[in-house]
């Protein structure tokens, strides 16, 4: 079977995700019991590589070290504590029901499946909700200083897509505090000798021997040396690929290279088109812009979003009287108001700006106004809750949000797609496990706020250490790694570096990245159409061709060469961008973060097509184009309905 018009083939469906059967609340217990154990004496002889040190990778490496495995951990930064999980502001969800406001594991499960617009797996999401409570216990025991009330107990707040207060937080720096918790656990294992840390090392290829993932090829970013590291299993925790858009809330170094190389080596890539556009970011200020900064969604608890009623109203916010303001989220979605999920809030902002009612330079912004909250709670209380966010806003924009409303606009923030994994978090390559944002498993087509931290830590502290053990119980029979497989992977890496350095053209890698990003934002961004996607699919190969013939990368392969690092990442973004557009084109429905303009209801809301698209699109890489494998999604517990937040 094939679909020539879309440029892809259709292969065999994926029938087994390895999730246990039976009542959903028993499945994880069942899997934990059925997973084989590894004898403690054998663990010392088993090597595991973990790439990436964010919440998922840091917690996974630390926990595997605690269990007694020999772990090698890699990160591209100068220390594992810098991974971009650190920038998560708002909080972490957990079904503790400490407030007694009706929360439960089942409700968190339900909200997450619904928030994901019925494109996530029920079994995985239920497990996530179950272990969420353990994460909070673990973090508190590590000394993570969550916000507390005067009685000494933990404080919580509410977040988009939920009507209960289940989000634990540490001022606006929850990601930082949780990451430092995982980092301290990791450093403890490094000191104990169970984890060997390799900082300033970038993974450039995966070694596969006898059908199993057995190692990685990395570049020492200080010396330029290409190194081989072998192991019995490889865990990728290398984050999302939002930087394909050039401008995103990701750190500058975030990239797709590790997962893309694994994809080219046989790991399927699931739902690449599911990208999350975060509604509350600081708008772009000029064409030199290097990244976008998010303002935590928690601000929507107290801030009110509005634009002027009239088009082209250029008066200052303070000069626009109440009756000439449109608090459009409260108007359109009275039940959830300013707390609608991210995809809905983002698109609503785009719509009012498209109508010509946007504010600030270029009309690409909406107001997030705290005047009412300051009047109601007092400036001090607002400062206590959001002080650091307000300061950050003022530092970047030069405007004081206590005195005038913030200007915000949506920006690329998170990618729900990623490498396909089964219930054990194992990819389609045996021995290659993928955790955190790098996999696709738990958020469906849209991730709820404060759920990324939950998933990263659930994977790293609790899920992977169990499931990887089941795989490693057979490690004694894996045999030696084929030296030819290693040579072949090393050669591929070396050739790419030599090629990038030899082109010596007239444009920098960054300038190509900027152009690719703009193209993706315009044609495969907040709103996608068949026409726009076809345009992108025409333009991406042309631009890639030009890149490989005209990029200028200075310097040598030896030593620190940041321009070379960037060029290698941009090259992989081109290939990924193409797959994202193919996926977005094939999915003619709208769902969650994927909005196809052709598929909307009378009110302009995303219209799913459950009959034809209630599946995970898992793509297999091929020289002559990708092959689609469908994993059908069954909903036994949550009835598929059109999401409504009205």
């Amino acid at each position: 079977m094939s679909d020539q018009t879309h440029g892809y083939k259709v292969g065999e469906p994926i029938r087994d995700t390895k999730a246990p059967e039976g009542p959903i609340e028993d499945r994880w217990d069942k899997r934990r019991f059925s997973a084989k154990l590894v004898n403690p004496a054998n663990k010392r002889k088993i090597n595991v590589i973990v790439v990436g040190t964010g919440l998922a990778g840091g917690s996974a490496a630390a926990t595997l070290g605690e269990l007694g495995y020999k772990v090698k951990s890699f990160c591209y930064q100068d220390t594992p504590r810098r991974a971009h999980s650190i920038a998560a502001q708002g909080g972490i969800n957990a079904a503790k029901n400490y407030r007694g406001d009706g929360d439960s594991v089942y409700r968190l499960f339900y909200d997450t499946v619904k928030g994901g617009d019925f494109r996530a797996r029920e079994s995985n999401v239920y497990r996530l909700a179950q272990v969420s409570v353990n994460i909070i216990d673990q973090a508190v025991a590590q000394g993570v200083p969550f916000a507390r009330e005067y009685g000494g107990l933990l404080d919580t707040r509410s977040f988009g897509g939920a009507q209960v207060s289940r989000t634990f937080y540490a001022r606006g720096q929850t990601g930082q505090q949780l990451l430092l918790g995982a980092y301290s656990a990791l450093e403890r294992q490094i000191a104990a000798g169970t984890v060997e840390m390799h900082t300033r090392h970038e993974m450039l290829d995966l070694v596969i021997s006898d059908g199993r993932a057995r190692g990685v090829i990395v570049r020492d970013m200080v010396t330029g040396e290409i190194e081989t590291h072998l192991a019995d299993a490889v865990v990728l925790a290398t984050g999302g690929y939002g930087n394909v858009f050039f401008l995103s809330t990701n750190a500058k170094g975030c990239n797709t290279t590790a997962i893309w190389r694994a994809h080219q080596r046989g790991a399927m890539f699931a739902n690449p088109c599911y990208t999350q556009i975060h509604p509350t970011c600081i708008p772009v200020s000029g064409d030199y812009q290097s990244k976008l900064t998010l303002m935590s969604e928690s601000l929507r608890n107290d801030g009110r979003v509005w634009v002027p009623v009239a088009k082209g109203d250029t008066r200052k916010a303070a000069d626009i009287p109440e009756e000439e303001r449109d608090y459009y989220l409260e108007r359109i979605y009275p039940a959830f108001g300013n707390l609608v999920p991210r995809d809905i809030a983002s698109r609503a902002a785009k719509n009012v700006c498209d109508e010509g009612r946007g504010v600030g330079p270029g009309g690409l912004g909406v107001y997030l106004d705290f005047a009412d909250a300051i009047a109601r709670l007092g400036r001090d209380a607002v400062e206590k809750k959001y002080g650091n966010l307000f300061e950050m806003y003022e530092r970047i924009t030069g405007e004081n949000p206590y005195e005038q409303p913030m200007r915000i606009y949506p920006a690329v923030h998170y990618t729900m797609g990623g490498l396909w994994v089964d219930y054990d978090l194992q990819s389609t390559i045996p021995g290659l496990f993928v955790v955190g944002e790098a996999n696709f498993s738990d958020h469906g087509a849209n991730r709820l706020g404060a759920s990324a931290l939950m998933q990263g830590l659930a994977d790293g502290y609790f899920v992977l250490p169990t499931t990887v053990g089941d795989y490693l119980a057979g490690a004694t029979k894996f045999g030696d790694v084929d030296p030819e497989a290693v040579e072949q992977a090393r050669d591929a890496v070396q050739q790419k570096i030599d090629k990038l350095l030899s082109v010596n053209g007239t444009r920098t890698a960054d300038s190509y990245h900027r152009e690719l990003g703009k193209l993706m934002w315009d044609y495969c961004g907040m709103e996608r159409t068949e026409e726009s996607l076809r345009k992108a699919l025409e333009r991406i190969p042309e631009l890639r061709e030009e890149f490989w013939n005209n990029v200028k990368v200075p310097g040598d392969p030896e030593g620190l060469n940041q321009a070379l690092e960037r060029a290698g990442r941009v090259a992989d973004f081109f290939d990924l961008a193409e797959l994202m557009c193919i996926d977005a084109l094939h999915r003619t429905e709208s769902c969650g973060g994927h909005f196809r303009a052709e598929s909307q209801d009378a009110d302009g809301e995303a219209l799913r097509d459950d009959e034809n698209f209630a599946y995970v699109a898992a793509w297999e890489w091929g020289e002559d184009g990708p092959t689609l494998h469908k994993e059908v999604l069954d909903y036994e517990y949550v009835k598929m309905t059109q999401r409504s937040y009205k």
Binding site: D78, R82, V140, P145, G151, L154, Q176, G286, S511, P554
Partner: protein, 245 residues
Amino acid sequence: MNLTLKVWRQNGPSDEGRMVTYKVEDVSPDMSFLEMLDVLNERLILAGDDPIAFDHDCREGICGMCGMVINGVAHGEQRATTTCQLHMRHFADGAEITIEPWRAAPFPVVKDLVVDRSAFDRIIQAGGFISVPAGSAPDAHSVPVKKDDADAAFDAATCIGCGACVAACPNGSASLFTAAKITHLGLLPQGQPERDSRAKAMVEQMDLEGFGGCTNTGECTAVCPKGIPLDTIARMNADYLKASK
């Protein structure tokens, strides 16, 4: 805006290094400091010159990876601001700006403005943690923590490990960094069992790495982008003395 930059260039740890002057034109006041350097680097690459190496990642003031001494001040003169969050509107048109790496013996230069701060990781390895393997934690509400203690612990825990404190200190001391972690964990009930051993081991590692002693100059807290208070050092000293008895 048009600017003149004097930038430290050093091609590796064994190179002597020197200041090199660059003119940068058409700088927008809304640019961040690193965006201004991006613009210069793009130009250098196209001219066939070696771009200036500098560390950076999140560019939102939290990862701690960036850091330069700007006009003699770690992270520049803007208070409570990392280099990546510093914006050009704080400089005058026509200004001359000097840019140097962190300078401290335990932070050897890797290249240009990039330094090796792995000594900080080794200080954390010595004891900057609470020993609690995954899966063994009691319910989070089993131990209430006084709000004041939790808030003070948080204030210390916000350290981003950038190293500005060391760069600013005339003694090249890492006291503020080390004290921040000792204070964070020492204020919490969970941190009590290892409080003595932690203080002792971390201070000893700090000395072993070659950082200088603290003479209460206070330059560290003045440049700290997160405003870690100086009294954390008093706390560290008290804990260390008690642990050494």
